[in-house]
């Protein structure tokens, strides 16, 4: 499936081809530690077991901020 991933820390919006189904698999594919992000879809926080659908936009909010 294809997803749009907005990454707050990188200030980027990328279109990706995703081979898996869940948030956990997406983070693994992007090599992002789940400890460091909160995942949002349609303004709602979603957990790692949540299944993703084709053409969705996912936002990765950074847990780490400040100094």
């Amino acid at each position: 499936m294809k997803l749009q991933v907005k990454n707050e820390r990188e200030n980027s919006l990328k279109k990706i081809v995703f081979a898996g189904t869940t948030v956990q698999e997406l983070l693994k594919q992007l090599k992002i530690n789940p400890e460091t992000v909160i995942v949002v879809r349609n303004n709602e926080v979603i957990t790692e077991d949540e299944e993703l659908k084709d053409k969705e936009q996912i936002e990765l909010l950074s847990v780490i901020s400040g100094g």
Binding site: E8, R9, N33, P34, E35, T36, I38, E44, V45, I46, T47, E48, D49, E50, L61, S62, V63, I64, S65, G66, G67
Partner: protein, 315 residues
């Protein structure tokens, strides 16, 4: 996954914790209860306190400011509350968080004072750091940390604060514990814990940390769900520091071995009485008054004035 507490009306979870998944409403309640329990257990706030919250405008300080105010209201405690921010002078970073902080304090009706490195010490960090680094090889976080602590303590005392409330979370404290172990800074370890500093010394404002048991991810989630206005900001110097490497290491461990950070804190708390006892003995013998500024010092001159001396010589 659904919230494990919402059994009659299944509700989507916003976080999966070791003891189960929680929806927005149950997570907010769980988070606030833990902060209030920490305040009560360690007696972080007392009725006659004059509290000064060390604030930056980021997720931790907005959360701790909001919850300290809520705690005072819920428990009908007459302690006074104000916020103190330090503007280090980091271009493109601090000015953004201070905008959020000003709005937040106005909304909460909490008085805010902002003190800058520029006005208090003569130069913003961006200008001071390269000059100090040239002679001392100190990293920006070393200069910033010393000056920030110095100004927070000095201005909190000037305001008559009995306690400085900080937004240090579980991740911050686990990182600091490991940093001290890796560098064999056993004396500094005595400064950690939910309460640090001593109330007996006039030159030190005692520091209290209501978010001590809250992981950074939960603080971010709380601030997000409460819709606090927070622009994402990362200090441009943060990745240069030793702490950054420790942070990455602990996050890797936490993902692989959940509970690692809490384990570090539990181990520290088990050792804390011994560390504090040693530190208090040493403090009573060693705390002096800086011969330059009159603030507390371990030697004839405090670390903040030593850095300023290097800076003045470099001009």
């Amino acid at each position: 996954m659904n919230c494990h507490l919402c059994q009659k009306n299944p509700t989507k979870a916003v976080i999966i914790l070791q003891h189960g998944a929680l929806c927005k409403s149950h997570f907010l309640h769980y988070f606030e209860e833990r902060v209030f329990k920490t305040i009560n257990k360690y007696r972080l706030i007392e009725r006659n306190d004059r509290l000064c919250v060390a604030a930056s405008g980021g997720k931790d300080s907005q959360t701790v400011l909001y919850l300290t105010k809520k705690y005072l209201e819920n428990y009908k405690i007459p302690a006074t509350l104000e916020a103190l921010a330090i503007d280090e002078g980091i271009d493109g970073y601090r000015e953004k968080t201070l905008v959020d902080l000003k709005q937040f304090c106005k909304k909460l009706n909490v008085p805010l004072t902002i003190v800058s490195f520029q006005e208090a010490l003569g130069k913003p960090l961006d200008e001071a750091y390269p000059l100090v680094n040239k002679d001392t090889k100190k990293k920006p976080c070393n200069v910033c940390g010393v000056w920030r602590r110095y100004l927070l303590n000095k201005y909190a005392k000037q305001k008559g604060a009995t306690k400085v409330v900080t937004g240090h979370n579980l991740d911050d404290e686990a990182q600091a514990t490991i940093m001290n172990i890796f560098k064999a800074h056993t004396k500094l370890a005595g400064r950690l814990g939910p309460v640090s500093g001593t109330e007996e010394l006039d030159t030190f404002a005692q520091r209290v940390k209501p978010l001590y048991f809250c992981p950074e991810k939960e603080v971010r989630l709380y601030a997000l769900l409460k819709e606090f206005q927070i622009q994402f900001g990362e200090c441009p110097y943060a990745r240069e520091g030793f702490r950054h490497d420790i942070q990455e290491m602990l996050n890797t461990f936490e993902h692989k071995y959940p509970g690692t950070k809490q384990g570090i804190i539990n181990s520290f708390l088990a050792l804390m009485p011994l560390l504090k006892e040693n530190k208090e003995k040493e403090d009573n013998q060693k705390i002096k008054v800086c011969n330059s500024c009159g603030e507390a010092a371990n030697h004839e001159m405090c670390n903040a004035c030593k850095i300023k001396e290097v800076l003045d010589a470099a001009k």
